[in-house]
């Protein structure tokens, strides 16, 4: 409960900071302190030392999984603010408001990691999405940002409508918004006793599933993602592509597997089809991109496919896997976007010869790209390993096929990630990078150390989960 309440309070606090000071550095530092406070509050809550308790009548249920995910999300946001804080305040004149909106998103994220009721899921998704519409359009004079904002908003509101209709159907079929009451497991796709046909809940579940796929930008509902990530200011694009996407997966997992028993076979088939489509579309399209920002957008779709493996496997491995994947993916993508935001030219040619002008930044890029590609000694390797192992453990021909497909597309992804490395190290040119501060460099080194440390000792991360 701490994370939900305190993140909302911190959001309000930051809104009021803009009255007291207009100094952007001060505002950024206040946001950082608030984030650290939020992180502490959440960890204290995890160990049951101090927690704010409000009787939600069972609408929210807290468990270690949710707490740990909150910790990851808040820690990733802290790293995001350390690395991209200067870009955030430079986006427009309302620095304090951007941070306030980020805190409101975190409030939605912590609701999504603990909901036990469809009402809370709906509210969590909305609290998370509405600030993002504003953040996407925060570069008010930039037409691309405007376009991305309107597109994201219309698509997001459309998917909200679909989710609401799905929730309504589920309610009609089961008579309750409680997730436990849905019982998604009966043999004939059905969990109803009130309505004459199970049609209502099949449609309802499909609608909710589709709208959640939309939020995590999995195929066939991925079409908005490249345009929106491309148009949004780089700093906020990295926030949307990492923490928000991971929160969408936590919501899906909360809904479909932590609190319900195993899914019916046919639903698993649907999930498998979505995984295949997402992997194919994300990876193949990423190969043809010339702009690194757009390539990262497509690679984020591809990673959504990998994270869907957890939803297919539904076992303990998958549970651990999604947490490691969140950590790996967030660290690497936040770092890549932070460096991208400093670049003059977002195309591949813009990275030419970066190793000579900015050796540290180039090296950081290499580590992040290796982690995304899943090369051993980086945490990205274990993230992919856990996902594939989870599906293999489940057995079955489809599981085997998905694993092979996952490995093949991991190899494809190496191609487009390594093109950036090639441009930085083996091509001549002078990559134009804005001046970087010492704080930024320290943040990058911290992120690199985290990626390599967790890549060698992933059990530290998991040991924390199972303390």
């Amino acid at each position: 409960m701490n994370a939900i309440i305190i993140s909302a309070l911190m959001g309000v606090l930051l809104m009021f900071t803009s009255i007291l000071t207009t100094n952007k550095q001060v505002i950024k530092n206040i946001a950082l302190i608030a984030l650290l406070f939020l992180l502490t509050a959440n960890i204290v809550d995890t160990y049951n030392l101090f927690s704010i308790n409000i009787d939600t009548k069972g609408m929210l249920a807290f468990n270690k999984f949710g707490y740990f995910f909150n910790t990851l999300a808040i820690a990733a946001t802290t790293i995001f603010v350390i690395l991209s804080g200067n870009e955030i305040v430079k986006t427009g004149n309302y620095a304090a408001d951007y941070f306030a909106l980020i805190f409101f998103v975190l409030c939605g994220v912590s609701i999504l990691s603990s909901f036990n009721n469809l009402l809370m899921m709906f509210l969590g998704v909305e609290i998370m999405s509405i600030p993002l519409y504003i953040l996407t359009g925060s570069a008010k004079k930039n037409l691309k940002s405007n376009e991305a904002s309107l597109k994201y908003f219309l698509m997001g509101a459309f998917s909200t409508g679909i989710m609401l209709m799905g929730i309504t159907f589920l309610y009609g079929a089961s008579g309750s918004f409680d997730i436990q009451a849905l019982k998604l497991t009966d043999n004939e796709l059905s969990f109803t006793k009130v309505m004459p046909t199970p049609l209502l809940e099949i449609i309802g579940l499909l609608f909710v599933f589709a709208s959640m796929l939309f939020k995590v930008s999995a195929a066939p509902f991925h079409f908005w993602a490249p345009d929106v990530y491309d148009g949004a200011p780089s700093a906020f694009a990295s926030f949307m592509a990492t923490i928000v996407k991971a929160a969408g997966f936590i919501a899906l997992i909360n809904l479909f597997f932590l609190k319900a028993v195993e899914l019916h076979y046919l639903w698993k088939m649907v999930t498998a089809l979505v995984i295949i489509a997402t992997l194919v579309i994300g990876n193949i399209t990423a190969v043809f991109q010339q702009s690194v920002k757009r390539m990262l957008a497509y690679s984020s779709i591809a990673h959504a496919g990998f994270m869907m493996f957890a939803l297919y496997a539904q076992n303990d491995y998958a549970k651990e896997g999604i947490l490691i994947y969140t950590a790996a993916y967030c660290l690497a993508t936040i770092g890549l976007f932070a460096i991208l935001a400093k670049m003059d030219d977002y195309t591949l040619d813009g990275y030419n010869g970066m190793a000579k002008t900015q050796p540290l930044l180039a090296f950081a890029n290499v580590v992040f790209l290796l982690s995304l590609a899943g090369i051993p000694l980086t945490v990205g390797f274990f993230a992919k390993y856990y996902m594939l192992a989870a599906v293999l453990k489940n057995g079955g021909n489809i599981g085997l096929f998905l694993t092979i497909l996952g490995v093949v597309f991991a190899a494809v992804s190496v191609y487009y990630y390594f093109r950036v490395i090639q441009a930085m190290y083996f091509k001549d040119g002078d990559a134009k990078v804005a001046d970087v501060t010492t704080g930024f460099k320290l943040g990058l080194i911290l992120t690199i150390i985290a990626i390599i440390f967790f890549g060698i000792f992933p059990n530290v991360l998991l040991g924390w989960f199972y303390f």
Partner: protein, 111 residues
Amino acid sequence: MPIQYYIYLALALFSIGIIGVLTRRNAIIVFMCIELMLNAANLLLVAFSQMHQKIAYAANPAATNGIEAQLFVFFIMVVAAAEVSVGLAIIVMLYRNTRSVDINFLNRLKN
């Protein structure tokens, strides 16, 4: 009235909304169609609430089943209002920059 009628009405409204979103080019009309979809869900929620209330009442006159759906409707209204305020602001921002609210404009900017 049988619940089917409400389902058909809500589905009709919902489909009109979806078709509107997919075919209309004016951002504000698209937005209105989205509101129509939300309100179809509202209507159906209230109808289902009544249905479950009646079923529960037959077994136990003191039952309070069905109330939560009516509460849900209020939450949807609040969220829809928040969405309207953000959405209209975005549309106004776009209008200021381009003097148009046509969403075909968005495709022109692609790449």
